[in-house]
């Protein structure tokens, strides 16, 4: 059984080379006992030495196989296909000659965290240079062999050509010569003209698709090692509770159980929480023993916390001034008093889970003060860091293999499960795989925080928006640093005073009050934006209708003619108004905005949002039956993510996935907090969007603009919820102010 076992030994040594050079860590074998050679450093004379390896990402061997390293973790966002495409484009290799291998965690690759839709923008330019540098060297190698000037040569289809004579030399034949050349300075490397791109912008299938459709071991949970043991880890249902006692003797005597022990852990919600580990011969033996486990927990103060309690506290707080002022322009009190019309509304949304289908898991093998880890992670650096903290092992004694992840959505940026497997492996001899149950996953997630917005808006007699007041009640943790405790906003639970429409209204007051809680919070696809866009574009829609204005026209007027808006202060967000207006006009045109005559029960809604460097506008078309059943008939998306779509198929898949994901969260997802724990435990109680509820059609338009190329894992999600809710209003007159949708009766007559 192997995971992406490279077939050729030269490639294997290339893969292991840099990790070994850095740490000198050699542990037994990698996935397959027969392949321990994979850990040998290439010796002079090995095939690897005749291969051309201009940098850590490219290896061309004497057979012409081009191996490219994918440095970022693949979680379904398609980066393992798209970033290597950039190198292949500049390198002028045929895509079918390319083998892509997931890189381990290695400083040679630079940052390897996949989050914030940053993988593309932070690597795009550099990856062009990597490929172009290698191409330049291959041309130089041919020039040397033929004794011809480089100007007369060109690279194409994995070979260098001399057109006047018709001579050509394949990269396979050039590899050994190119390997001896010095790497040219950046000034001597010419990047391709985007007009000449042949690969970028085309539809390329995911590189792992053949393995996915035939069931090959690709994911963290698929890792198999000789002598592998299987672990489960029980934590306190009330967050961060401590273990008082457990029936360990009884558990130890159960069939298939090898060991069970208490891990004291820490109070770090993103690290190693206290719990009981059970180690067994198989996953099922571990899970079965877990059902008999009886633990007395010291649950602590968190048990006083509940969603009902948070909600009534938020109501109370809404009547007082906010704890913090995020923006205060003009005079909101006066403007509201002067307004021809004022509208007031309260919006709220619950905590939700990432609920990826592959539960958290990781495999680790501790041996002689070193540890080797296999993990489906978005953030291998964080995994390594937490292991150094917990086990006191130096970074260079940790090998971390990044496996494919069965979904990420931000969950796998947090390394709690890696901390757990490392702590477990420390006490087990041989390799051990920790698998969470889905119940563990739902009850010990790093949740998307809930929140409450209390909004007031004022319109003048011409229907212009003149005042905006928002009191945002959000969630924080009590953090103790250097003996001083303070409230720190939960990850993804913050709001910027710059957030649209903050900078656009002359009388604008945005306040914030944090509620203290002990519930883990973490980034959930398009953090903040995934809810803020819904709140603000729903309320703007309310105001547009109150003003008797077309929701598109109202928004365009609001955006105004300011062109480019710089951010306020250091943390402010620059905003290109023209780019947003461009996508807004485009989506309106493509969706025939305002041109369709819908019967009652059907309608269109519009929304836009800027996040993760992307400008996105959406129009949703919905049908709501008399008994309140919603069907999203069509969603039209217009995006501006810069000058180049890397992989058209992957990009379209991301946008469609974002729309479906946004719709699932909008329609169904909700967790209840009671007694400091999550009430729901599995998909049965936490419904997710199924195929019949997916929109009938999702139309995706990519505008090609002159701006830098940016990422697409997140920005297409936020506008979906408000577009759908605004369409529901157009169809039924019902305004949705609470998520999820199933909390609102949509029936009409």
């Amino acid at each position: 059984m192997s995971i992406e076992m490279p077939v050729n030994p030269a490639r294997r040594s290339f893969l292991r080379h840099s990790a070994l050079a850095g740490g000198g860590l050699v542990l037994g074998f990698y996935f397959n006992a027969a392949n321990s050679a994979g850990h040998k450093v290439a010796k002079p004379g090995d095939a690897a030495e005749t291969a051309f390896r201009p940098n850590a990402f490219i290896n061309i061997d004497h057979n012409g196989t081009v191996t490219l390293i994918s440095k970022q973790p693949e979680i379904g966002q398609g980066i393992k296909t798209s970033l290597p495409m950039v190198i292949a484009e500049e390198l002028e290799v045929d895509w079918q000659d390319v083998v892509i291998v997931q890189g381990d965690l290695d400083p040679a690759y630079g940052s390897q965290s996949a989050g914030g839709s940053r993988s593309t923008p932070t690597n795009y330019e550099e990856f062009h240079r990597l490929g172009a540098t290698a191409r330049t060297m291959l041309i130089q190698a041919a020039a040397r062999i033929w004794k011809l000037p480089v100007e007369e040569l060109l690279a194409r289809n994995s070979a260098v050509h001399h057109l006047p004579s018709g001579k050509q030399l394949s990269y396979a034949k050039l590899a050994a010569t190119a390997a001896k050349l010095p790497v040219p300075p950046a000034s001597a490397v010419r990047l391709k003209n985007p007009l000449d791109f042949q690969l970028l912008g085309t539809r390329i299938g995911g590189v792992d698709n053949p393995g996915i459709v035939t069931g090959k071991p690709l994911f963290g949970i698929d890792v198999q090692l000789p002598g592998l043991l299987y672990a489960t880890y029980a934590k306190s249902p009330a967050f961060a509770g401590k273990v008082v006692s457990a029936n360990l003797d009884e558990i130890k005597a159960l069939p298939g159980v090898r060991d069970t022990f208490i891990i004291e852990g820490t109070s770090n919600l993103k690290g190693l929480l206290p719990g009981v580990a059970i180690i067994a011969d198989s996953t099922w033996a571990a899970f079965s023993a877990r059902k008999r486990l009886k633990v007395v927990w010291d649950e602590g103060k968190v048990t006083t916390q509940s969603w009902a309690g948070f909600t009534s506290k938020a109501q109370e707080l809404s009547k007082q001034p906010g704890a913090e002022v995020l923006r205060n322009d003009g005079n909101v009190t006066q403007a509201l008093a002067d307004a021809a019309k004022t509208i007031e509304a309260a919006y709220s949304y619950p905590f939700i889970s990432h609920a990826s289908i592959e539960p958290q898991n990781a495999t680790a093998w501790y041996k002689d003060g070193s540890i080797e880890i296999w993990a489906p992670t978005q953030n291998p650096e964080a995994g390594q860091k937490i292991v150094t903290e917990i086990l006191g092992i130096a970074k260079d004694k940790i090998i971390l293999h990044i496996t494919r992840s069965g979904g990420g959505f931000g969950r796998r940026l947090i390394p709690d499960y890696i901390a757990e497997v490392a702590a477990i492996a420390r006490k087990v001899s041989g390799p051990v795989k920790l698998t969470w149950t889905h119940e563990d996953d739902l009850q010990h997630d790093q949740y998307r925080a809930g929140g409450f917005h209390f909004l007031r808006g004022g319109l003048d007699s011409t229907g212009k928006l003149t005042a905006w007041h928002n009191h945002f009640v959000t969630f924080s943790h009590n953090v103790v640093k250097d003996g001083k405790s303070s409230l720190e906003l939960g990850s993804g639970a913050n709001l910027s005073g710059d957030e649209f429409p903050g900078r656009w209204i002359s009388n604008c007051l945005i306040e914030q009050t944090p509620l203290e809680c002990g519930i883990p919070m973490g980034p959930w696809r398009a953090p903040r934006s995934n809810v803020l866009a819904w709140v603000f574009h729903s309320f703007i829609d309310e105001l547009a209708h109150a003003a008797g204005r077309d929701p598109l026209g109202f928004r365009l007027e609001l955006l105004g003619n300011k062109g480019f808006l710089p951010g306020t202060g250091e943390k402010g967000i620059p905003y290109d108004v023209n780019r947003m207006k461009h996508v807004l006009h485009d989506v309106a045109e493509k969706a025939d905005w305002g041109k369709k005559n819908f019967p009652r029960g059907q309608g269109q809604g519009i929304a836009f949002h800027f996040s993760h460097r992307g400008y996105i506008a959406q129009v949703a078309e919905v049908s709501v039956s008399k008994d309140g059943k919603l069907k999203v008939d069509k969603v039209v998306v217009s995006t501006d993510i810069g000058a180049q779509i890397v992989n058209l198929s992957g990009a379209e898949n991301q946008v469609q996935g974002s729309v479906v994901d946004g719709l699932g969260a909008l329609m169904f997802q909700e967790l209840t907090i009671d007694k400091g724990r999550i009430v729901q435990s599995n998909f049965g109680e936490y419904p997710m969007l199924r195929i019949a509820d997916a929109p009938t059609k999702i139309e995706v338009h990519f505008l090609k603009t002159d701006f830098p190329v940016t990422g697409l894992g997140e920005p297409a999600l936020p506008p979906l919820a408000p577009a759908v809710c605004n369409a529901i209003f157009a169809a039924t007159g019902i305004r949705v102010r609470r998520l999820p949708l199933l909390r609102t009766d949509l029936s009409w007559s």
Partner: protein
């Protein structure tokens, strides 16, 4: 613990496990056939779907004890060369995102196509109602099944 001999992808395999061990874990931990995925363990996500005598079945809810002499087919055994029309269509249309649910989607779809070689979108939605895709590839799944129908027809002429 007892010995069970089951027939998986045409091959007889013997394992020594407790009677309540779900087929899912026998496949994954004992036979190292990991294409069949663990998602929820309670029959809600469909990522563990296999065929038992041709019927799509949740391996997480099927104790080894109940399998008996019936034939088990997993994603690894769906087509000898991995070229079932669905497997081809899935690659052609680039259906997967993370890919974790896709073995289950394909196994469920394969059973549907046996029963109904030209399914409508409605039939697809009904047959695949038990298969979650957290990444939201549902539109491409529908398109992939229609494409597989075409590929199967082309292969017949």
């Amino acid at each position: 613990m007892s010995k069970y001999t089951i027939k998986v992808n045409g091959v007889s395999k013997t394992v020594d496990v407790s009677a309540d061990t779900p087929l899912l874990w026998v496949l994954r931990d004992h036979l190292h056939l990991v294409g069949t995925k663990f998602g929820c363990g309670i029959g809600q996500c469909g990522s563990c779907t296999v065929h038992i005598d041709g019927v799509p079945t949740r391996a997480c809810l099927t104790p080894i004890n109940d399998v008996g002499i019936r034939k088990v087919t997993t994603i690894e055994g769906l087509a000898f060369k991995g070229n079932h029309p669905l497997q081809q269509a899935w690659q052609e249309l680039d259906v997967p995102q993370c890919g974790y649910c896709q073995a289950g989607q394909i196994m469920t779809a394969a059973a549907l196509l046996k029963k109904s070689p030209h399914p409508t979108d409605q039939e697809i939605d009904t047959a695949l109602a038990g298969n979650l895709c957290r990444c939201g590839t549902y539109l491409r799944i529908r398109a992939g099944i229609h494409r597989a129908v075409e590929l199967a027809e082309q292969a017949m002429v």
